[in-house]
């Protein structure tokens, strides 16, 4: 799979796809999208990059180990639930900001939760694919 075209294409595709994934994540509450779709798109971006440029450089680009990403994502999701527990006494009760933000609309713990989902999905997918790709070396 050592193709110059693919390598170049993925290099340009990566930022685009990542941007789209963030967009899908943030808009998810109102339009089709969300943490899952966003996370999957982002991982696809990295997977394509890994196919084009190798797993090693994909890892370098990601900077953080995908396994750690999983831990962080779970923690973020967990914390978003616990915020609700602390604030209202019931686990996962949504807490919202009072004013609107551009693109996203209101900020709230469900969004935080969705970010956690996003991180977990990226971490999981990349852990799996990287482990498989490297396992055969």
């Amino acid at each position: 799979m050592d193709s110059v075209i693919l390598r170049t294409a993925t290099r340009y595709l990566l930022p685009l796809l990542l941007l789209f994934s963030l967009f899908a994540l943030l808009r998810g509450h109102n339009e089709p999208g969300g943490g899952f779709v966003g996370g999957l798109v982002a991982s696809t971006a990295f997977v394509l990059y890994a196919i084009g440029c190798g797993v090693k450089s994909a890892r370098e680009l990601l900077m953080i180990s995908p396994r750690r990403l999983i831990g962080v994502g779970l923690l973020v999701a967990g914390i978003s639930g616990i915020i609700g527990l602390l604030a209202s006494g019931v686990f996962m009760t949504a807490q919202w900001s009072t004013r609107d933000f551009p693109v996203v609309g209101k900020l709230g713990t469900p969004l935080l939760f969705d970010i956690g989902v996003y991180l977990v999905v990226v971490g999981v997918t990349l852990t799996i694919i990287f482990a498989l790709a490297e396992g055969e070396e």
Partner: protein
């Protein structure tokens, strides 16, 4: 009273320590517990004779109607005295018999535990509590029969005894529960006051059979008797105690105890008398033809137990009196003889009567005890055995029905008992002196005390029969019958038919003894298969069970994943399909196809791709066809208002293809491994599941007006949850808990993949295939669990 029962268990806990501390004196020391109990129960005799009873109730498992209820009455006291008294002698005896054995501490513990359990049985006033102790005696017996656990024979005998008595015990449990149901109480003393409750119940027959099964197995009645000779694998003091004096009499106790509730009916009389009679005759007949001292005694015990059951079956006041008298006499003389046999074995190194002879000089005390015991067993005056034989004959002779045949049976059994008695006493001690493996000495004091005391009591009781009658037998009979009774025992009843029968019995018995060698070939011919029959049945049953177990497991758990899958699919289809056809009204209008062209195209694409998956030979083609199905499904999602699903399905499909390619790359090509018939069969099974699912969908889509919670989501998504994409709002807010679980699943899956790829057993790299028989190094073992040991491949097809 609970203290008396628990004393044995508590002492059992400490026995090994006492043994370690006191060494040779431990037996004498530990025997203080049962000796103390003997005094304790003895002290109650006076007041029991005065008509009092003693009871104590402690709440226990009230939810299941089980209280620790104990009640000391005459019957219980008679048994309790035998249990604790013989127990004390046996423990002292055991200290000598097993001197130097590393397991002696355990012996004390088990015997004490048994004693506690046995006392529990005879004192319990609650059926379930009685059963609890009953089972504990079985397990103590198991541990004691298997005392010489290195011997395969001991282990097999222990198991046999446990299985036979245990099975009977479980039947009895069912019987006792039914009895409790029928009478409305589990308290025995209450039950006894209303016998009609059980006997008029429709369950009476079942109760009787089940309870009798328990009693008969425990008391070694034909055809369950064979475990008792097997139990002789136990150390001799154990045989004397459990398998002669006490545990085997638990069944007798139960029959006596429940006779007011269950007895008196024709069914009771016929079955109990018949079983007892057959056991009595058979046991005695087999006894005299043994050569092993302990086996002679074991079969004669079987016979004596049969005698007791026989008497309880007759069930008259006199028969009950006879039963309890015989019981007392038997405990004394049989205990003596077992302990003598043990001493002979211990001192000479053999129990084979053909190799024993002329030992009187070497072992005069033992010999005296043996003679007294045997004379009592043979029913010679002036011994207590004579008195018991007299009342026994009289009970049979006076039986209300069939007195003739019953008396004949009683006499026949007794004749052979006399022979057996002669065999164990005359043969070893008199006649020509035979060489034995060990040079014989008189037994040590610890081993003489038991036989001498028991034999002495046999003499003593014969001279104070009225005292025994007043304090031992009468109260017990009254407790058994639940009404007052007049009891007399006499050493010399005067010249009558019964006495003549006794004389005849002794003469015939001695004649058989004298002629035993010439009679042997004849006897072999009349073997009746009694000894082999039921035991062979046991073996066939056990073997059959093992065979069935093995076979069914090989068939069910056959190792073929596809067969497992097939079974599960067929079970699902059969159960669901059957239920659908029989329990549900299938109706409703099936919507006519209103599909649009492009929808039909997508549907056709999916169907074709799915079928292609099953047919292609190339792995890559299969993966691509699978992906086509996946993309097709995501098209369906987008067409029918589920963009989120479509996007998710689409991106996951893409990643899945990458995954498959990464993995399948290294896997082998497809090969067609099954033949056409198997493929057709599988296709039919799979199709049946498909048809079921299609039908379900058709039935269920007929009515989709059941949305119940959806309205809440659509109404509140924007207002309360501040999101317009309802699916996403459900995922991150309304049902975010699901999503939390979901990302955990993902995380674990990732961790799993990572671990599978990176964590491999070290030796896998070295060996292409693991060896078939693992030789596990100790060092590796101590460090970590080894892989499962592969077993020899002996069931492969």
């Amino acid at each position: 009273m609970i203290g008396a029962v628990l004393a044995g268990f508590i002492a059992a806990l400490f026995a090994p320590w006492i043994h370690r501390a006191a060494r040779g004196w431990a037996g004498w020391l530990i025997a203080l517990v049962p000796a103390g109990l003997t005094l304790y129960f003895g002290a109650h005799l006076e007041r029991l004779a005065g008509g009092e009873t003693f009871s104590a109730v402690y709440a226990w498992v009230s939810s299941l109607g089980t209280d620790l209820a104990f009640r000391l009455d005459g019957l219980g006291a008679l048994f309790a005295l035998i249990i604790s008294g013989v127990g004390a002698l046996v423990i002292i005896y055991g200290g000598g018999y097993l001197k130097g054995d590393p397991q002696l501490g355990r012996f004390y513990a088990y015997v004490l535990m048994f004693m506690g359990a046995m006392l529990g049985v005879v004192l319990a006033d609650n059926l379930i509590t009685l059963f609890v102790f009953w089972e504990l005696t079985s397990i103590s017996s198991y541990l004691l029969i298997g005392f010489y656990h290195s011997e395969a024979d001991s282990r097999a005998s222990a198991l046999q005894a446990l299985l036979v008595t245990g099975t009977g015990g479980l039947a009895m449990l069912a019987g006792l529960v039914l009895l409790g149901q029928a009478t409305g109480t589990y308290t025995i003393s209450e039950m006894v006051t209303q016998p009609q409750a059980a006997q008029s119940s429709s369950l009476y027959g079942a109760i009787l059979v089940l309870v009798l099964l328990g009693a008969f197995t425990k008391s070694a009645q034909f055809p369950f008797h064979f475990w008792l000779p097997g139990a002789m694998a136990a150390p001799t003091p154990v045989s004397a105690y459990l398998h002669s004096a006490t545990m085997v009499k638990a069944g007798i106790y139960l029959l006596a105890r429940l006779s007011p509730v269950l007895g008196g009916t024709d069914a009771w009389q016929i079955s109990v008398t018949a079983v007892g009679g057959v056991t009595m005759v058979l046991g005695a007949y087999v006894a005299w033809r043994q050569v092993d001292l302990k086996r002679i005694l074991a079969y004669s015990t079987v016979s004596a137990l049969g005698m007791l059951v026989f008497l309880l079956g007759i069930g008259t006041e006199y028969a009950v009196k006879a039963a309890l008298t015989v019981l007392l006499a038997h405990s004394l003389y049989k205990g003596t003889l077992f302990l003598v046999a043990g001493a002979l074995d211990h001192e000479t190194g053999t129990r084979d009567v053909t190799r024993l002879g002329g030992l009187w000089r070497a072992m005069p005390w033992t010999g005296t005890a043996a003679l007294l015991g045997a004379a009592s067993m043979a029913g010679l005056p002036p011994l207590f055995g004579f008195i018991s034989k007299e009342v026994f004959y009289k009970a049979a002779y006076d039986a209300p029905d069939l007195a003739g045949p019953l008396t004949a049976a009683a006499v026949t059994g007794s004749v052979f008992m006399v022979t057996a008695a002669a065999l164990v006493s005359l043969k070893p001690f008199f006649g020509a002196r035979l060489e034995t493996p060990k040079h014989p000495h008189e037994a040590p004091p610890s081993m003489l005390l038991g036989p001498v005391v028991l034999a002495g009591l046999g003499v003593l009781f014969a001279f104070v029969p009225s005292w025994v009658a007043e304090y031992g037998i009468r109260t017990a009979v009254e407790a058994t019958l639940n009404h007052a009774a007049e009891i007399e025992l006499e050493l010399w009843p005067g010249l009558n038919v019964v006495l003549l029968l006794s004389l005849l019995t002794v003469a015939a018995g001695l004649a058989v003894y004298a002629l035993r060698v010439p009679l042997q070939p004849w006897a072999d011919r009349v073997d009746l298969g009694a000894r082999v029959g039921p035991e062979r049945g046991y073996r066939v049953l056990l073997g059959g069970m093992l065979w069935t177990a093995d076979r069914q497991t090989r068939i069910l758990q056959n190792g073929y994943l596809r067969v497992y899958l097939m079974t599960i699919v067929l079970t699902t289809v059969a159960l669901t399909g059957y239920t659908l056809l029989t329990r549900a009204d299938i109706e409703g209008v099936w919507r006519l196809p209103d599909a649009r062209f492009y929808e039909i195209v997508v549907v056709a694409l999916i169907v074709v791709a799915a079928i292609v998956v099953t047919q292609v030979q190339s792995r890559l083609a299969a993966v691509l066809a699978l992906a086509t199905v996946g993309y097709g499904v995501s098209l369906l999602y987008i067409m029918f208002g589920a963009p989120d699903l479509a996007m998710t399905q689409f991106s996951i499909e893409t990643l899945t293809v990458v995954l498959f390619v990464l993995v399948i790359y290294r896997l082998p090509r497809f090969a067609t491994l099954t033949n056409r018939a198997a493929r057709l069969r599988d296709a039919l099974i799979a199709a049946s599941a498909g048809v079921l699912m299609t039908s379900l969908v058709l039935i269920l889509t007929a009515d989709t007006s059941r949305r119940h919670v959806t309205t809440f989501f659509s109404e509140n998504s924007v207002l309360l949850a501040k999101g317009r994409n309802i699916v996403n709002v459900i995922l991150v807010d309304f049902r975010a808990f699901d999503t939390l679980g979901e990302i955990i699943v993902l995380s674990v899956a990732a961790a799993g993949v990572y671990a599978l790829m990176r964590l491999r057993p070290e030796r896998e790299r070295r060996e292409a295939l693991p060896e078939t028989r693992a030789t596990v190094e100790l060092s590796a073992m101590a460090e970590a669990d080894p892989p499962a040991e592969p077993q020899a491949a002996d069931s492969g097809r």
